[in-house]
Symmetry: C2
């Protein structure tokens, strides 16, 4: 099984395809559930599968600290450890070193930091990140980069992007190819068109199996993000998958798919599920709200998940008020199912050249939140 991407159809800039990997196929566009520490929070692997998820994401930063990459390897790899034989993408660790770790120091060689758990010192380089992701048995390895802070001046963004480019080269050299496994480069350049072009061109030279768009969804707003996607997506090879990192709301996903993105990941549906919020075809609900106390309707009547087919909004409200673990379990199940359904619907619509109508109808449904 070669790692490959079949582009099956387009509708404007929107794309529908299939990603082939050593661990199975992934229809795109696709949303990757975030399994930070070797578990999608509040979900069994069977429950994750029940949402329609085909690929999950693991966080190198968390896993390298605990249980450690070497231990995961001894346990047979991340797939076996977390009961997920399907494809897994791991990030490089760089983003979370900058957001979570203590006493960070970045040099050309890499980044030195202390664990947020116990203060242990670590040194993460492109080479070590590739080694860790190899030990984890990651289906898709991400290069180590620096997620450029926002806002950044043109000079700052250029310097940061060029170091990421040098790290991308070192990451590519350190990557150990395996049949059906791939490695993605990450385009940086902040909100500067010339830098995005320079970054994309340099990464294309390295011929990655896929390309991520990084440095977005960091505070620039949806309008700027979409503008950067309009610029960046056309710079990427048509026949390779495109992954927008850390995005986003259902509306962000629809707009990004329209601009040519194939893959997404975000903690939003899982985190929301642990804080009483539900993404539905009628918009976002906060199930803690007293208006649900006697609401005997399913959370989302158009959803086929366990939460929506077996339980009422009133029961979910009760579980949340009573601080029962089943509340987050059911809401996470629903939210991930909603995200998967959104992407499945997008794919079907793209293949039938009715993606704009699909987006319009979906967005109209969200306006109905108050009456939902």
């Amino acid at each position: 099984m070669t790692f490959s991407f079949d582009l099956l159809g387009t509708d404007g800039a929107a794309r529908a395809g299939t990603l082939h990997t050593a661990h199975g196929d992934v229809p795109t566009p696709t949303f990757m559930a975030v399994g930070t520490a070797g578990t999608v929070k509040a979900m069994t692997a069977d429950a994750v599968r029940s949402t329609g998820a085909k690929i999950v994401l693991g966080n190198t930063y968390h896993l390298m600290l605990r249980p450690t990459a070497e231990r995961v390897a001894r346990l047979g790899g991340l797939h076996k450890m977390m009961d997920w034989p399907g494809p897994i993408l791991t990030d490089s660790g760089g983003f979370q070193v900058m957001s979570l770790a203590k006493l960070r120091k970045m040099t050309e060689d890499g980044v030195t930091f202390r664990s947020h758990i116990d203060g242990t010192a670590y040194h993460l380089t492109p080479e070590r990140s590739m080694e860790i992701q190899h030990l984890l048995d990651s289906t898709i390895t991400m290069v180590l980069d620096e997620c450029t802070k926002f806002p950044a001046t043109h000079d700052e963004a250029a310097a940061s992007m060029r170091m990421s480019t040098r790290w991308a080269k070192r990451s590519r050299d350190a990557f150990i190819p395996r049949e059906g496994y791939g490695q993605f480069g990450i385009v940086q350049g902040s909100v500067y068109e010339d830098l995005r072009k320079e970054s994309a061109a340099a990464l294309r030279e390295l011929d990655f199996e896929g390309y991520a768009i990084g440095g977005l969804a960091v505070g620039e707003g949806q309008e700027s993000m979409f503008a950067m996607l309009d610029i960046t997506a056309p710079l990427l090879p048509t026949q390779k998958p495109r992954y927008l990192m850390g995005v986003g709301t259902p509306d962000d996903l629809l707009g990004s798919v329209a601009r040519g993105v194939d893959m997404f990941d975000c903690v939003m549906p899982t985190r929301a599920g642990r804080t009483a919020r539900a993404f539905t075809s009628h918009g976002v609900f906060n199930l803690r709200n007293a208006r649900f106390i006697d609401d005997g309707r399913p959370l989302d009547e158009s959803c086929s998940c366990l939460c929506c087919t077996r339980h009422t909004r009133a029961y979910l409200h009760h579980l949340i008020r009573a601080e029962e673990i089943l509340g987050p379990m059911l809401l996470t199940t629903h939210n991930l199912t909603y995200y998967q359904s959104l992407m499945q619907g997008a794919r079907a619509a793209i293949l039938e050249n009715r993606y704009a109508a699909y987006c319009e109808k979906t967005r109209a449904g969200w306006e109905d939140a108050k009456n939902g």
Copy 2:
């Protein structure tokens, strides 16, 4: 469907049978998973079913406070609300009023208390407890009684038991019979043989569908508890199910089944699952212990649950250290499966007249905890 009990076999005082109810059959001896607030903590209803559970318990005290019995009734009853169409036994609320509520005041009429959640005042009488359990659509309703404190003098125990007997009569009068539904009386009398006899005789006059043994597992120790079971069980009708309330450890269950008990409930397997403890055929493990950090074996190689067939002890240890919700989810699944398997094994052994050997072999396995 009449509510009835078929005694299918005995081995010494141990009994194997089948309880027939409006909501399905329950092979006995059986362990009832505790679903306090309308959910077995950290478990979907499907997960509870996967453990082999045939009947669950709901707590009247918790449910009357939140979401309230009237609201549960409007939502179609507890079975529908929690996705458990099978049999449900509810307690009377009395025990938890005494252990959880504030400003309790007991009179001949009933007990007045304030909610531990928001201080709201309630008055619980035998008649109101029966009404609440009816609204919940409980398959098995328990009479309201006073769980006699331990230790109690003979005079205190006698006065308490006699009030419980008067409340049992009022509970029987207030119970609304429905086809396939039943009501259980509760024998009290502390550790006094004459009082247990008086209580049992009075309750037999009321011809309940089953009989519970209350006021045990309240600090008297296993030896005293077993001594009281030796005295009390023979006082109860052979053809009615016998339920030992709030018990206990796997060893308590084996010893109580040997003395003629058919039904149990206890928070132990679920609570232990949320605090890193696992009941296994090799004894009790604390998965937080560092000795499991590299243990690639299943938690219990003889168990067929999701936790044991898909994951390692090292992964469970990791989940607990990382405070991931999946840890309690998997350990609760395992612990409940272990309790169900223990009861299934007991039933099979009783029917084949090898119950003593079954207990001996099971207890020998627990001694292996250190090497497990």
